[in-house]
C-alpha cells in the first residue's frame, strides 16, 4: 500500500471513530431525556470533551494530509469532505450535549403521553436509521445508501412541524405541565437539527464519491 493510501485509511478510521462516538452520544441523549436519567446526561457532558478532542485531531490530521501529500481528484475530495463531515459531526455532538443539559435543567421525567404524542420514538428510530446509512455510505462509498438519508430527513422535519401544534393544543389542557411542553419542543428542535446535520454529511459523502455538489439544490 502506498503512503497516501495509508494516510487515507488512517483518516477514514478516525472519521469512523468520530461518527461512532457522536452516534453513541445521540443515543445516550435520547435515553437520558426520555427516561430522565441524569447519570446518562452527566456521562454525555463528560464525553463531549472527547468529541471536541477528536474534532481537533481530525482537523489537524486532514491539514497535514493536504499539506504533505498535495492530494488531487478522489484524494482531494476525500480530504475536503472529511473536514465538512467532521464539522457536522462535532455539531451533532453539541446537540447531544445541549439535550443532556436540558435534561438536567428540566429535572423531571416527561409524561409518557407527551413522548408518544410528539412521536419522539419515531424521530429517534429515523435518526438511528440515518446514522446507519451515513456510516454505511461513508465506509463503503455507497452513493445509493447516502441518498436514502434525504428522504428520512423529511420524516424528521414532518414530526418536528407537527410538534408545535400538539404542544399548543395540549398545553391548554394541562397547564401544570407547561415546563415539560416547552422543553420537549426545544429538545425536539435539537433532534431535528441532528437530522439536518446528517443530511449535510450525506451531501459531503456524495461529493467525495461522485464529485457532485448538492448543497442548495432542491432536488437531491
Amino acid at each position: 500500500m502506498i503512503n497516501i493510501e495509508e494516510q487515507r485509511v488512517a483518516l477514514n478510521k478516525t472519521g469512523e471513530e468520530m461518527l461512532n462516538l457522536v452516534h453513541k452520544q445521540v443515543q445516550l441523549a435520547y435515553e437520558a431525556f426520555t427516561s430522565f436519567d441524569t447519570d446518562l446526561a452527566e456521562e454525555i457532558i463528560l464525553k463531549e470533551k472527547r468529541v471536541n478532542a477528536l474534532d481537533v485531531r481530525i482537523e489537524k490530521d486532514t491539514d497535514h494530509f493536504i499539506a504533505l501529500y498535495s492530494p488531487v481528484a478522489t484524494d482531494l475530495r476525500f480530504a475536503l469532505a472529511l473536514l465538512k463531515i467532521n464539522y457536522n459531526l462535532e455539531r451533532i455532538g453539541d446537540q447531544a450535549f445541549d439535550i443532556a443539559n436540558h435534561t438536567i435543567y428540566l429535572n423531571q421525567k416527561l409524561v409518557s403521553e407527551l413522548v408518544e404524542r410528539m412521536q419522539f420514538n419515531l424521530m429517534f428510530e429515523t435518526l438511528e436509521s440515518m446514522f446507519t446509512d451515513v456510516a454505511n455510505a461513508f465506509t463503503n462509498e455507497n452513493l445509493k445508501v447516502a441518498r436514502k438519508v434525504f428522504k428520512k430527513d423529511k420524516i424528521i422535519n414532518d414530526i418536528n412541524a407537527k410538534a408545535f401544534d400538539i404542544v399548543a393544543e395540549d398545553a391548554f389542557k394541562n397547564p401544570e405541565l407547561i415546563r415539560q411542553y416547552l422543553m420537549a419542543l426545544v429538545v425536539m428542535k435539537k433532534f431535528e437539527k441532528i437530522g439536518d446535520l446528517l443530511k449535510n454529511i450525506s451531501e459531503s459523502i456524495i461529493y467525495f464519491i461522485d464529485a457532485e455538489i448538492l448543497k442548495h439544490k432542491k432536488k437531491k
Binding site: I2, I4, E5, S70, P71, V72, A73, T74, D75, L76, R77, A211
Partner: protein
Amino acid sequence: MNVIMTENTENLNTEDKIAEKYKLQTKDVNVFYGDFQAIKEVSMNIKPNSITAFIGPSGCGKSTFLRLFNRMNDYIEDFKMEGKIKIDDTNIYKNKIQLEQLRKQVGMVFQKPNPFPKSIFENVAYGLKIQGIKDKKLIAARVEKALVQADLWNEVKDNLNKSALTLSGGQQQRLCIARTLAVEPSILLMDEPTSALDPISTAKIEELIHQLKKEYTIIIVTHNMQQAARISDYTAFFYMGELIEFDKTKKIFTNPDKKRTENYITGRFG
C-alpha cells in the same frame, strides 16, 4: 484511442470554423520508431493563448508528441509519422513546409538551460541573425523586448556583454526563453523547463509562463503534477503512447473521467 477536445463545438459545422477556433490540431497521429509505435491514434485540438500540460509516466510518448509540433523528431532514425498536424490550418508535415519558418513559429525550451558560450546579448540575438536580420537597432530592440518578456531584463541590462554562462541556472533558463521569444514565435513548446531548477527559479518560470499566455500558445511537458495543476488550462494524460484523457485542468485534477488518469495523478501508478 481517439480523444478529441471539442468543447462547445455544436455550432461548428465546418473544418474552417474549427480551424479558426484552434491554434493547433492533430488528427489520428501515429508515430513509429522502426517497429515500435510510440504514439497511437492521437487527436487533439489546442486553443490559442492557452497553456496545455502533457503529463504521463516516462516513456508514455508525451515528449515525442510535443516534438512533432516543430518536427524535431525528423532527425531520429527510423522515425515515421502518420496522420495530420495543423498549425493555423496548415499541415506542417506537407513536403512544401520550410522547417526554418516552422521553427520560427514554434519555439522550444528544453529541460536543461542550454545557453551558447556567448554573451547574454548574443544569445538572444542569435536567432535574429540566423534569420538574416542585420539592422542593429532592430536587433537591440528585439533583444530588450525578449529579455523584458522573459522577466530577465532588470537583472542583466547592465551586463549584456557578460558571458551567459555566468548566470544562475534559473536565469539561464529565462535567457533561453528570451532567445526563443526573440524570433517572435506564436507557439512555445516546453519540455520539462523547470525540472533542473530550484523552487524559487521554478516559481519565476511558472509566473513567466502565466504572463506569456497572453501572447503565445504554450504546451508544456511536466512530471510535476502540482505544476501542471497550477499553471495549465488544459491537461492531456498520456499512457503507453495513447492519449487517455484530455480536458480542462480543473476537471482532470478534481474529477477525471478515466480511472487510469485518477490512478496516475493520485500517485497510485506510474
